[in-house]
C-alpha cells in the first residue's frame, strides 16, 4: 500500500463522489419543500442516457451535459404533476417515475451501448504543475468536479439566505402558513422540483459523460437511493451533504484499497456500511425534534378551498 495507490483511491473517490453530491443537493431542495422524490433513480438514468446519447451524436460533451440537465428537470416535472397538481401519493408517484426511467433510459441508450465518447476535458488542480506525470494524472478533474463544492455553497445560500429559500423551507414545514402569507405553495414546490431535477441531471451528466464515459443499462445501480439516504444523513443540509458524499465515496474507495492490498473483507458487507451508518445517525438524532425532517415532508398539499 504505497502513496500512489492511496492517492489513486482518493482521486477516484472525488470523481465518483461529485455526481453523488449533485444528486444529493437536488434531493435536499425537493425535500426541503416537502417532497420525497423516490423517482431519483429514474431521473438519473434518463439524464445519464440522454446526455451520453447527445454527446455521442454531436461529439460535444457540453451539449450532452446541457441535455442531461434539461432531461433531469423534465423528469422531475412529471413527479411534480403527479404529486402537486394531481395530489397523488409521493412514494407511489416516485416509484412510478423510477420505473419510467428504467424503461425510457433503456430505449434511449440502446443504440449507444458500447459507444465511445470524448468526455469532459480534465484539468490539473492548480498549483500542482510541478508533480511528476504519474502523480499529476491523479489530480486531473473535469470542470463539474471543481464546480460541485461551490454548487453546494450556492444551494446553501439559496436555501438559507434568500427569501425564495425561506419560502421554500416554510413550504416544507407548513404549506398552509405559506399560503396564508400570500405565496403559492404549489408554485414553490414546482420550482423546488425543477431546481432539484436540474441538479440531479447534472449529477447524471457527470456520471455518464465525465466519470464512466459509457452507457449501460441500469448503470446508476442504486445511486438515486444512496442520495436519498445521504439527504437524511446530512440532515437536509447542503454543506453537511459534502461530508456525506465524500464519506460515502471514500468508503467505496477504501474498500477498493483494502482489496488491492489483499485484506479479506467482503465487498458486499463494506457496501452496506453507508446505509447502516445512515440508520445509526437516524437513531442517534431521532429523538431530537430540532434536527429532524421538514414537518410536512411527504404530505399532500390539498389547498385551502
Amino acid at each position: 500500500m504505497n502513496l500512489l495507490s492511496i492517492l489513486g483511491v482518493l482521486s477516484s473517490a472525488v470523481l465518483s463522489g461529485a455526481s453523488l453530491l449533485y444528486t444529493t443537493l437536488g434531493e435536499i431542495i425537493d425535500e426541503r419543500a416537502g417532497i420525497v422524490n423516490l423517482g431519483l433513480e429514474g431521473v438519473l438514468l434518463v439524464g445519464a442516457s440522454s446526455g451520453f446519447a447527445v454527446t455521442s451524436l454531436t461529439g460535444s460533451p457540453y451539449l450532452g451535459v446541457l441535455v442531461a440537465v434539461l432531461a433531469g428537470g423534465l423528469m422531475n416535472m412529471i413527479v411534480g404533476y403527479l404529486v402537486i397538481t394531481r395530489q397523488a401519493n409521493q412514494l407511489a408517484s416516485g416509484l412510478a417515475v423510477m420505473f419510467f426511467g428504467f424503461g425510457l433510459s433503456a430505449l434511449v441508450g440502446k443504440p449507444y451501448v458500447g459507444a465511445r465518447i470524448r468526455g469532459l476535458p480534465r484539468f490539473l488542480l492548480p498549483g500542482l504543475e510541478g508533480l511528476p506525470p504519474l502523480y499529476s494524472s491523479l489530480f486531473k478533474f473535469d470542470p463539474l468536479v471543481y464546480l460541485v463544492v461551490p454548487m453546494a455553497v450556492l444551494v446553501w445560500w439559496a436555501l438559507f439566505r434568500t427569501r425564495w429559500g425561506l419560502a421554500l423551507r416554510a413550504t416544507g414545514e407548513n404549506a398552509d402558513a405559506v399560503f396564508a402569507s400570500g405565496r403559492n405553495p404549489r408554485r414553490i414546490r414546482y420550482q423546488a422540483l425543477l431546481a432539484g431535477g436540474l441538479l440531479a441531471g447534472l449529477g447524471a451528466a457527470h456520471l455518464s459523460i465525465a466519470y464512466t464515459m459509457n452507457w449501460s443499462e441500469y448503470m446508476t445501480a442504486g445511486r438515486g437511493f444512496i442520495a436519498v439516504a445521504l439527504v437524511i444523513f446530512s440532515r437536509w443540509h447542503p454543506l453537511r451533504a459534502i461530508v456525506g458524499a465524500l464519506l460515502f465515496s471514500g468508503a467505496v474507495a477504501f474498500q477498493l484499497l483494502l482489496q488491492s492490498s489483499g485484506v479479506q473483507v467482503s465487498p458486499f458487507l463494506l457496501d452496506t456500511i453507508p446505509y447502516i451508518l445512515t440508520l445509526l445517525v437516524l437513531v442517534a438524532w431521532g429523538g431530537n425534534r430540532r434536527q429532524s425532517a421538514p414537518a410536512a415532508l411527504g404530505r399532500v398539499y390539498h389547498g385551502t378551498e
Binding site: 394531481r86 420505473f99 424503461g103 437513531v283 431521532g286
Partner: protein
C-alpha cells in the same frame, strides 16, 4: 373535485361496478396509447408490438400461465404492504424483506436437504417468514418507540438486504461452477407446480393469505382494533388498545409475508438463490397495494394487470429488438394514469 352523490344502498351497485370497470379500461387504453406513441417515436411499429404483448400473454393457455407465475410474488408483496397500512404504517421495505426471507429459506434448503418435502417445505416457509419479520422488526420497533419514521428505515434496509444475500452467496453458498448463485435446490425443497405449468404452490399461498387477511380485518377483534388504530391512533390507545404492540406486530407480519414471497420465488420459481434475483418486486408490490387502496380484490386485479405487462415485455425483447426494460415504460404509463386519475375518474383518492 370528487363527486359525492347520494347513493341508494345497493341498487346502484351493479352500475357502479360497471362504471369502475369501464374507467379502468379507459385508463389502461390511455396507457397503451401513450406507450404506442413512444414506440412510434423510437421508430418501432406500435400496433404489432402491442398486439404481441397482448397475444403472448392473454392469447394462449401457456401465456396465461406465465402471467400467473409472474403475478405470484407481486400478489404476496402487495399484501405485505396492505397489512401494515391498516394501522397507518407505510412499509416500503418489501424488497429487502423479500431478500432476507429468500436467504433464510435458502439456508433451510441447503442445510436440511435430506429432509422429506413434507417437513422441509413448511420449515422453509417458516424460515422465510422469520427472515422477513426480523428485517421488518427494525423499522417497526424504531417507529413504535417513536424514534424514526418507518418509511425511511424500511427504505434504507432495502439497499442492505441484497448485499447481505450477495455476501452469503459469494462467501458461503455458491455452487462449484458459479459464484453468483447457489447450487440447485433438491427436489424436496421445491414448491410443487400445478397443472403441468410453471405455476407453483405460491399462488395458493398468496390467495389463502389474501382471504385470511380479508377475513381477519372484517370478522376478528384484531381487525377491528387495527382499523381503530388506522383511524385515530391516540383515540385507540386511550381506549386501551395496545398501540405499540400492534405497530410492531403488524410491521413484522407484513415483513413475514414479504419474506414468504421471497421463499416462494427461490423455492417455487428459480430453484436456486441468485444474486440480485429481484429487480423491484417489493416496490412493485408497494405500487400495486397503493393503487388498489389496500383492498384484496383490487390487489388481485392489479397484480394480474401488472403481470400481463411485465410478461409481455419478454416477447417484445425477442421479436421487436427492444431492451426488456422498455416494458417499464408501459408499466409506468399505466401507473401514471391511475395515479393522476384524470378528470373522468371520480373514484376515491389514493
Amino acid at each position: 373535485m370528487s363527486g359525492v352523490g347520494v347513493q341508494p344502498p345497493s341498487a346502484m351497485l351493479g352500475r357502479r361496478l360497471l362504471q369502475t370497470g369501464a374507467r379502468y379500461l379507459v385508463m389502461i387504453l390511455l396507457a397503451f396509447l401513450l406507450f404506442g406513441f413512444i414506440l412510434m417515436l423510437s421508430g418501432k411499429e406500435p400496433l404489432p408490438s402491442i398486439r404481441d404483448i397482448l397475444v403472448s400473454t392473454l392469447g394462449s393457455g401457456y401465456g396465461l400461465s406465465e402471467v400467473v407465475v409472474a403475478m405470484i410474488p407481486m400478489l404476496i408483496t402487495a399484501l405485505a404492504v396492505a397489512l401494515p397500512s391498516r394501522v397507518g404504517l407505510i412499509n416500503v421495505g418489501g424488497e429487502g424483506q423479500l431478500y432476507i426471507g429468500a436467504a433464510f429459506a435458502t439456508w433451510g434448503a441447503l442445510t436440511l436437504q435430506h429432509w422429506p418435502a413434507w417437513a422441509l417445505l413448511p420449515t422453509m416457509m417458516l424460515l422465510g417468514m422469520l427472515g422477513g419479520a426480523l428485517w421488518a422488526l427494525v423499522p417497526g420497533y424504531l417507529r413504535a418507540i417513536g424514534l424514526v419514521n418507518e418509511t425511511i428505515t424500511s427504505l434504507l434496509l432495502n439497499s442492505v438486504a441484497p448485499k447481505i444475500v450477495g455476501f452469503l452467496i459469494f462467501g458461503f453458498w455458491h455452487s462449484a461452477m458459479d459464484t453468483v448463485k447457489t447450487a440447485n435446490f433438491v427436489p424436496a425443497a421445491r414448491l410443487p407446480t400445478l397443472f403441468g405449468t410453471r405455476i407453483h404452490l405460491g399462488l395458493v399461498m398468496g390467495l389463502v393469505l389474501l382471504a385470511l387477511f380479508e377475513f381477519a380485518m372484517r370478522h376478528t377483534v384484531w381487525g377491528l382494533e387495527m382499523r381503530a388504530i388506522g383511524g385515530n391512533p391516540q383515540a385507540a390507545q386511550r381506549n386501551g388498545i395496545p398501540l405499540k404492540a400492534y405497530l410492531v406486530t403488524t410491521m413484522c407480519l407484513g415483513g413475514a409475508v414479504a419474506g414468504l414471497a421471497g421463499m416462494a420465488q427461490v423455492s417455487g420459481f428459480y430453484g436456486v438463490l441468485l444474486l440480485n434475483f429481484s429487480t423491484g418486486l417489493g416496490f412493485m408490490g408497494f405500487l400495486i397495494c397503493w393503487l388498489a387502496g389496500g383492498e384484496p380484490l383490487g390487489i388481485l386485479l392489479l397484480s394480474f394487470v401488472v403481470a400481463v405487462i411485465t410478461t409481455g415485455g419478454n416477447l417484445l425483447q425477442l421479436t421487436r429488438d427492444l431492451p426488456y426494460a422498455v416494458i417499464n415504460i408501459l408499466l409506468a404509463f399505466t401507473l401514471f394514469v391511475v395515479l393522476a386519475r384524470p378528470a373522468f375518474f371520480e373514484g376515491k383518492k389514493a
